[in-house]
Amino acid sequence: MGKVEKVSLLSAKNKKLLKNPLGIENPVTVQVLGICSALAVTVKMKPAIVMAISVTVVVALSNMIISLIRKSIPGRIRIIVQLVVIATLVIIVDQFLKAFAFDVSKQLSVFVGLIITNCILMGRLEAFAMSSDPWPSFLDGIGNGAGYGLILIIVSFFREFLGSGTVLGYPVMEKLGVYNFGYEDNGMMILPPMALIILGLIIWFQRARNKSLIETS
């Protein structure tokens, strides 16, 4: 405690916390966290966006709460304490979705519950919130949630656009009239394996542009 740090709420350092996870420290493509749900909810854009917002809220709040109580958590049982905090927040999000967005909640099915075991949460809590102040932890949570959401939205855009010919439910392909020329939706895009392949291609693209991320093995 003691020393009060004189940093403004959005200093350069804090801005970095927000910005880095969108690119060079992306939780999905670089830190390899939270893949499980990143792929399963990306058939359509709407559930993907709802999922991205839910995860961002849970990461940001749990990061902040754990950071507030980090000094009184005994090291040996920290995982269970973290899980309890996360599970409580996820229950709130789940009940909220059931009350206000029931159809989306049905589409997401078990994946809302699986936010609890989303590796992004545990990863960020262990790597950042356990050793940082509440405000930077909160920003780190927002940043990582947004980085995760970005990947979700990119993957779901391609899957929905190429697989069903719509964007956010709006029938783009039909309005363009391409069906008249014999175009057909690619049914493969809706199936689970394509999500993995699109993500593989996103990683390829990112690493080709940013050579420092290339793995040497």
Binding site: V32, L39, I80, L83, G113, G200, L201
Partner: protein, 205 residues
């Protein structure tokens, strides 16, 4: 009996945890570098699933479901506390993982060391919680079916991780474009394996 075999085969091949639902991807990607370690993790995950799914099934039947607490008192007939299932399931899973960790440490220290950080992380492996949540959503009729589902999911996960590890061991000798090396090619491999697994969809049980 027949339905048990059906559920088992379904959960190994058709509803495979990795290829159909992408559950447990984090440790799947991180531990699949050698066949030996992935065998160990596969066994551990299967073991934890076989215990946690039936335990959570009992919890669901006798505590969480609407009217499940009626054995305690008739006044609980309309009580529905299934919104607490996330926190109850994760508590059961975390304690069983702790138990498995101690057993493995005692009987196979070499396996314990090679699994390293990933053993405690089974607690936050999506496949484990996912199996419990699917068990809840699909409403299996009795504990036998729940166990068959747990065992099948575990073996399906095991099969997937060992297969991927075997391919990755061979991948070391192939010339992958530099930006695709490591994570990228592993995703594409998993996608291709998933397409192969989709051929099981035609089986009607």
């Amino acid at each position: 009996m027949e339905s048990l075999v059906n559920i088992f085969v379904r959960s190994v091949f058709i509803d495979n945890m990795i290829f159909a639902y992408f559950l447990g991807m984090c440790s799947y990607l991180a531990v699949s570098k050698t066949v030996r370690t992935s065998m160990g993790l596969g066994v551990a995950v299967t073991f934890v699933l076989v215990i946690t799914v039936p335990v959570n099934f009992l919890l669901e039947q006798y505590v969480l479901k609407k009217g499940a607490l009626v054995w305690l008192s008739d006044s609980f007939a309309t009580l529905d506390i299934s919104f607490l299932s996330f926190i109850m399931f994760i508590a059961v899973i975390a304690s069983i993982v702790q138990l498995v960790e101690m057993v493995i440490e005692k009987f196979s220290p070499s396996l314990y060391n090679s699994l390293g950080i990933f053993l405690p992380l089974i607690a936050v492996n999506c496949a484990i919680l996912g199996a419990s949540l699917f068990m809840q959503e699909r409403e299996y009729a009795n504990i036998g079916e729940a166990t068959a589902f747990g065992l099948g999911s575990g073996i399906g996960w095991w099969l997937a991780i060992v297969a991927l590890a075997a391919i990755r061991e061979k991948m070391r000798y192939s010339n992958v474009p530099a930006p695709l090396r490591g994570l990228g090619i592993t995703f594409i491999l998993t996608g291709l394996m998933g397409m192969a697994f989709m051929s099981f969809l035609g089986i009607t049980l």
